[in-house]
Amino acid sequence: MDSEIAVQCRGVEKAFGNGGGKVLALRGVDLDVRYGEMTLLVGPSGCGKTTLLSVIAGLLNTSAGEVKVLGEQIERLPGRQQILFRRKNLGFVFQQYNLLPALTAAENGAVPLLAAGVPRRKAIGEAKRLLSTLGMSDRVDALPKQLSGGEQQRVALTRALIHEPRLLVCDEPTAALDADTGQAVMELLAAEAVRPERAVIVVTHDNRIFGFADTIARMDDGRILSVDSEPNVAVNTQFIPSQRVQEEVFA
């Protein structure tokens, strides 16, 4: 792949605590994430995947090293600029969805536009359109508690994509879902999120979804062990959606 680099990490370290209680979560991470690709950060629990994702997303500062996201060193931006940079350029998908329980699916999906000052009606209309694309046209007015896990994750995906971010970060997007639903969500993610002008980073330890990756970065003990730009796992994890998932996703 010769595509342009969206995220560049060089010698990134992240420590938590002080003195004897100091824990080094990242130990000199070097990583390139390219536009138009889905990069999976994989590894066992506690290996530093989520910490690295937080650092890349500008939610945590590094202890050493350098992180460039879309050409910017986010942690060097003033506080408010960091927030505005995240709002404009980043989309988030969380493991537990983190939808606002009082808002409908469309309203949840519209949150980034509302935060950016887009008028409510226009923002919600845009969210409904995107939800329809994701196969949820008949669920736009449902509250999160009325939605299945897969549907909630699709709402979260809507929220992550609605403002056309250039970097999408997903933290264990299939961890709270059953296998079929998880695969379906990943199919949607691959189909709707990966664009030539956008990079997608997915933190996971679910090896059933490795087949969706363009690049797989394997981590352990705070280090990148290997980066595989042509992962040959598709055959092993070839996913054939169940009838239910096919109906649900491609309705």
């Binding site: 937080s54 927030i83 995240r86 988030f92 537990q96 606002l100 808002l103 935060a115 929220r159």
Partner: protein, 379 residues
């Protein structure tokens, strides 16, 4: 984002209604108790307020409040009349005889003896009859509540006879006098008649009522009277405040009401604050997600303040409405007549409620502001 804040608030219906109920209860209790407290204290000066003819009251130098009278000498009236700036000065008697109906029902009463010639200080708000008829022999005007006390469940009627300290008196009018501090009938009669009712003593003159000449301020004239006679002279307003302050200092009323008001405030702060705090904590994950997405701390602060102001405004409005309803219902009951929801109390309560919700929201805001957005990645 305001609509998101409001939907978050109303989405948790149990806490939303709980917050509104708590603030409404707190508001009702505060407004109700402070209004009754202020109303009862105002009653201590009711008989002063009802005298609208004269602006200045002259009394013994040691007099601290209306009930506490030491008779002046008749010559004091003449001395006051001689002071420059006095347009006129008349005497006023205050006594506490026993009023008794022919059926034997009796009550201690406030008896105010008005200047025979001018009837200065006569009640101007009449329900039945006429104060001018006080010039008739043995005539009295009694207040409506006093009439109801002596003649319960009977229609208002003039030309009825009662006994005052065993002297026959004819009711020629029924007034709407302001409620006194204690629920005694208020009886107006002529000075000479009042002295006759109560029994002649060496000195009878309770107060001298004074009206300044046009262009002379009441304040200035009180100073002049005090300087030249050695008596105590107060404007009507000053004398009413003297009564209020006396009861504040020398009775247990403020402590009693203070405890209730303190309980209302504590209930408001603790329950409303705690419920609002729990509401925010339960939404912490969502606030964290909003922060990660790029919603600024300032915006989140505004959202929480909007939520707090919304429940505060709704609770305050409901509580004030209930309090106004309470006073509307009780306004015409003899024991609670004249007690109203005063605008000063409503504003004071509003400020107290504002403090409660600001404190509650500050604690919640602090918890959200220190939240690291990266927390949302931790499962």
């Amino acid at each position: 984002m305001n609509f998101i804040a409001l939907k978050m608030l109303t989405g948790d219906r149990a806490k939303y209604l709980g917050l509104i109920f708590t603030i409404a209860f707190c508001t009702f209790l505060l407004e109700n108790q402070t209004s009754i407290f202020a109303g009862i204290l105002r009653r201590t000066g009711s008989q002063i307020k009802d005298v609208t003819d004269a602006e200045i009251w002259v009394m013994d130098p040691k007099t601290e409040y209306f009930e506490q009278t030491k008779a002046l000498k008749d010559t004091d009236l003449t001395r006051v009349r001689g002071i420059e700036g006095v347009q006129w000065a008349v005497k006023l008697f205050k006594g506490s005889p026993v009023a008794r109906t022919l059926d034997g029902k009796f009550a201690v009463a406030f008896c105010l003896g008005l200047d025979d010639a001018t009837l200065t200080g006569a009640p101007r708000k009449m329900v039945l009859g006429s104060w001018e008829r006080l010039r008739e022999p043995d005539s009295i005007v009694i207040d409506k509540a006093g009439y109801a006390l002596l003649f319960p469940d009977e229609p208002l009627q003039v030309d009825r006879t009662i006994e005052i300290n065993d002297h026959k008196a004819n009711i020629v009018g029924i007034s709407d006098a302001s409620a006194p501090f204690v629920s005694w009938p208020v009886i107006h009669t002529r000075y000479s008649q009042a002295v006759n009712f109560v029994g002649r003593e060496r000195t009878q003159l309770s107060y001298v009522l004074v009206q300044p000449q046009p262009g002379v301020s009441a304040q200035e004239l009180t100073q002049r009277i005090e300087a030249q006679t050695g008596l105590r002279a107060r404007t009507s307003e000053q004398f009413q405040w003297d009564c209020v302050l006396y009861y504040l200092k020398h009775t247990g009323i403020p402590v009693n009401f203070g405890i209730t008001i303190a309980i209302a405030l504590i209930v408001g702060i603790v329950v409303a604050g705690q419920t609002f705090y729990i509401f925010t904590i339960e939404n912490l994950k969502q606030f964290g997600a909003l922060k990660a997405i790029g919603v600024t701390n300032w915006r989140i602060t505004r959202m929480i303040v909007l939520q707090a102001l919304t429940v505060g405004t709704m609770g305050f409005s409901i509580g004030s409405g209930l309090c106004a309803l309470f006073f509307a219902i009780t306004l015409n009951n003899p024991p609670t007549r004249g007690l109203v929801l005063m605008w000063q109390n409503a504003i004071g309560t509003g400020v107290a409620i504002l403090v409660v919700i600001v404190l509650a929201s500050l604690i919640s805001i602090r918890r959200v502001l220190v939240l690291e957005p990266a927390e949302v990645f931790r499962g």
